[in-house]
């Protein structure tokens, strides 16, 4: 089940079906709560051409929103991308990137 499907399934739960006291019996459910809509003004955009896969952005991101995806790109075997469903647009990744591969762009700009 994808994240989206599982969340919408759970949203059908009625009060009598839910575990009492808001107890969560499965770990890692926070990822299903998509908080990317809290982002204001700008979002980070990673230029895959410039990116050297140093993963400094992955380390500094306070919201665990930098993803390492198994997509090969030129000489690299993975690509580093932003999880816009959780990124809050703080810009720390862009400020810390040693090769200026991350640009903070307008929210309306379409991500390729």
């Amino acid at each position: 089940m994808s994240q989206k499907e599982s969340l919408s399934e759970r949203m059908k739960l009625k009060w009598k079906d839910m575990p009492i006291g808001g107890v969560m019996f499965e770990p890692g459910s926070t990822v299903e709560y998509r908080t990317g809509a809290w982002r204001v003004e700008k979002k980070p955009l990673i230029d895959q051409e410039k990116c050297i896969r140093c993963l400094i952005c992955w380390i500094v991101c306070p919201d665990v929103s930098i993803e390492r995806l198994p997509k090969s790109f030129k000489k690299y075997t993975e690509s580093v991308e932003v999880d816009y469903e959780h990124c809050k647009g703080c810009g720390i990744c862009a400020a810390e990137c040693p090769v200026d591969a991350i640009e903070m762009v307008e929210e309306s700009k379409i991500v390729p």
Partner: protein, 423 residues
Amino acid sequence: MYRKKGEFTAEGIIPYSGEGDTVTITGAAVCTQVGCAYTGDEAVAYAAKQSDVDVVAAYPITPQTIIVERFSEYVANGEVDTKFMAVESEHSAMSACVGSSLAGARVFTSTASQGLALMHEALYLASGLRSPIVMAVVNRALSAPINIHGDHSDMMGSRDCGWIQIYAENAQEAYDCTIQAFKIAEDTRVQLPVSVNLDGFFVSHATESMKVISDEAVTQFLPPRKPLFKVDPTEPISVGGMLLPEYYYEVKRQQEEALRLSKPVVSSIGKEYGELTGRRYGLMETYGLEDADAAIIALGSTCGTVRSVAKQLRAKGKKVGAIKLWVYRPFPIEEFLSSVEDLKALTVLDRAISFGAPYGALCSDIASALQNTGSDLKILNMIYGLGGRDIPTSTIEQVFENTLETAKTRKVSERIKFLDVRE
């Protein structure tokens, strides 16, 4: 995990049938009991000891101090196998209780007045996280002006915290209710915290003749807690997660239902306790209502005075009665309504002011319970005994006379009357 309605039949109203004025004896006891002299506080501490609690986290405050003091003596003497946490405030006390309870422990604490007020936010954590904690609240006035004596301002200030709230009339009831409270709270159909209220000084510090049951009988009545779920590293769960608009409302709806459905559990446990000890409990107790025109309803120690005066007046041929609510939350609406069907006038005694409200808290509940029932019961509300001011039998007698007068004339002149305040 969620229990449905209608699993029990309610037997909440218990007619008073005792001979004495303080101890309710309704049947023969089947367990060994020992007569003793305890103050209300000592009785509660002894009940907690016999209930074999795993954790006590508490902070002393007058007039509850003796409970914590006695219990810490039990711990120091090795008489109990309890982790005693001497915390630095009541806020920490309740927080530690919530954590321990979620880890599966049987938890006890106690507080009063400012201590309960300081706990306020953690009270909601306990009920929201469905932690079956038992807390003795030794009711005391709230500051300012500072005062250490008994009234109900403290618990009434936190009455919407989602706890089951039981009021004990005397040391015997404080003892009995504390033992029952663990069984009620930990019942997986309930799984809610319970406060056992006893009036500061009137009950907490007065030594009374009472009976305690044997340790074996308590263990038989109250087996070790079997939690529905617990925080356990071998089987991880998350508790206290953030539930935003998508889920919060449903969880609160569950909580309200659990509190309402705890009524039959309270009744059946009260009955079971009665079969064991001969002292029967339930949601409320009535006296003389079979033919009464006028009655008084109250909480806590005052109920004894009211019943005593009612008895004297009935001996003189006056048709008066008395109602004692053991369980204030969940409010026994149906049971209350059926008990007052033939009554003409009822005085509600409130030992706390609900500032700016139409009535005191208890009277507001009663007035709203009567709403839309077609009842023409006349309601008088009287505030009394704030900051530990005594309520003598002469005042209660006057209240009965006023209530009888209202039953006859059908007229209520004042919305709220302040009894025995210097005008």
